[in-house]
């Protein structure tokens, strides 16, 4: 009965060490291990600049928020980044209320996040 989450990875033209990862579903305690494994694999493959597109991410709880903070920290330690775009209003409220908005790299538009990779 794990909550459904799907990750789809896309290349970014001219950025060999970067990927867009599109999240779809709910990020919670039932699937953080799966998500952690996927993102860690990207980091391990040298893809240390990740743009997480949350356009279709409906829900995040505190456990999910914990792994997002972990990705952000890990990416920076590897000389990369973990940027978040297209947050829905409800998910943003959870991130903001817990005081994590200032700790994460959040952008309104995908194009802004791509431009900020340089």
């Amino acid at each position: 009965m794990e909550t459904q989450i799907q990750l789809a990875c896309e290349e970014i033209a001219g950025k060999s060490d970067a990927r867009i990862v599109r999240f779809k579903g709910d990020l919670d305690a039932t699937n953080v291990d799966f998500v952690t494994e996927q993102i860690t694999n990207y980091f391990g493959d040298g893809l240390v600049k990740i743009i997480a597109d949350f356009k279709q991410l409906r829900y995040v709880n505190s456990t999910g928020l914990g792994v997002l903070l972990h990705f952000n920290k890990s990416a920076k330690e590897k000389g990369g980044c973990f940027k978040i775009v297209n947050l829905n209003e409800n998910v943003y409220e959870i991130i903001e209320i817990i005081g994590a908005a200032s700790l994460l790299d959040i952008y309104d538009e995908l194009s802004e996040a791509i431009a900020a990779l340089d």
Binding site: E2, D26, T30, Y59, N61, S62, G66, I97
Partner: protein
């Protein structure tokens, strides 16, 4: 008990009858069938006088059998509605056909009267709006994280069903999720150890209670763990914080939170006021 005014009255194929046994002492259901034109207004007034004399303040006018309604009759309904509202009740319509609904909407009645699909819906709305009746739901599930998502989603659906906004339902879903996750994570695990969640929802607030069995040997550690949040601080977290985000989130999203940890188990009680 069904009260008829002597018998159902007829006027140019128009019939009216009062039912007073559907929903309680304050409610009257007035069923009207046929064509309600100017000639039927005297009959309508007669019925409303009887309803008023019985001290009933919430009137459901069942229009399921109505074929036509004139604007003068609508004016009469408006006048009586005003009187019932002044007495702390209302007058609402139920069972409108497509044609009658269109006509009343064209006359602007939808801005004044509430329309319900049927009498039962109108009575339920009365109990919800005026009597502050709550709807509750209790779920007991084995202490497994995998079972938390359907429970939290159930709570959110209940909130939506009861008219709460998407945003409020999302907050309720989050609170239930976090409280249940904590119960599973910090309580005893396994099929035989149940987590019980109760949600009681009324028009103004949601009352959430979650209880679980705990390991008596971990009670002191658990109390220490929640201290930063329950004693007023610790609502914001840093990169390296591993603990306390869930409880901090519950505290920030709710209007009142109480955590009770004993050797027998842990119970968390949260009140979330409706915001939208």
């Amino acid at each position: 008990m069904r009260i008829r005014t002597g018998q159902a009255m007829k006027n140019n194929a128009l019939t009216m009858e009062i039912s007073s046994h559907e929903g309680g002492a304050e409610i009257a259901v007035l069923r009207i069938a046929g064509a309600l034109d100017f000639s039927g207004i005297a009959m309508l007034s007669n019925f409303f006088d009887k309803i008023t004399a019985e001290n009933r303040s919430y009137v459901v006018v069942d229009l399921a059998g109505i074929e036509a309604i004139c604007s003068a009759a609508l004016g009469e309904f408006m006048g009586y509605r005003k009187r019932f509202v002044e007495r702390g009740g209302s007058l609402v319509f139920a069972g409108l056909s497509g044609n009658i609904r269109s006509k009343l909407t064209l006359l602007g009645a939808n801005k004044i009267f509430s329309f319900y699909q049927d009498v039962r819906g109108a009575i339920n709305a009365y109990k919800w709006d005026y009597k502050k009746q709550s709807k509750s739901l209790t779920v007991a599930f084995p202490a497994s994280l995998k079972l938390v998502p359907p429970v939290r989603q159930l709570a959110a659906r209940l909130a939506r069903q009861k008219g709460y906004s998407v945003k409020d339902a999302f907050r309720i879903e989050t609170i239930v999720d976090e409280v249940c996750n904590n119960a599973v994570e910090h309580g005893l695990h396994g099929q035989e150890n149940l987590v019980e969640m109760r949600v009681a929802i009324d028009k103004e607030k949601v009352d959430i209670s979650v209880s679980n069995r705990s390991d008596p040997g971990k009670v002191a550690a658990l109390k220490e763990l929640i201290k930063p949040v329950t004693q007023g601080g610790g609502t914001h977290v840093g990169h390296n914080d591993k603990r306390g985000r869930g409880l901090a989130l519950i505290r920030m999203l709710s209007n009142d939170m109480d955590v009770n940890i004993t050797e027998h188990g842990t119970s968390v009680h949260v009140i979330k006021l409706r915001e939208e």
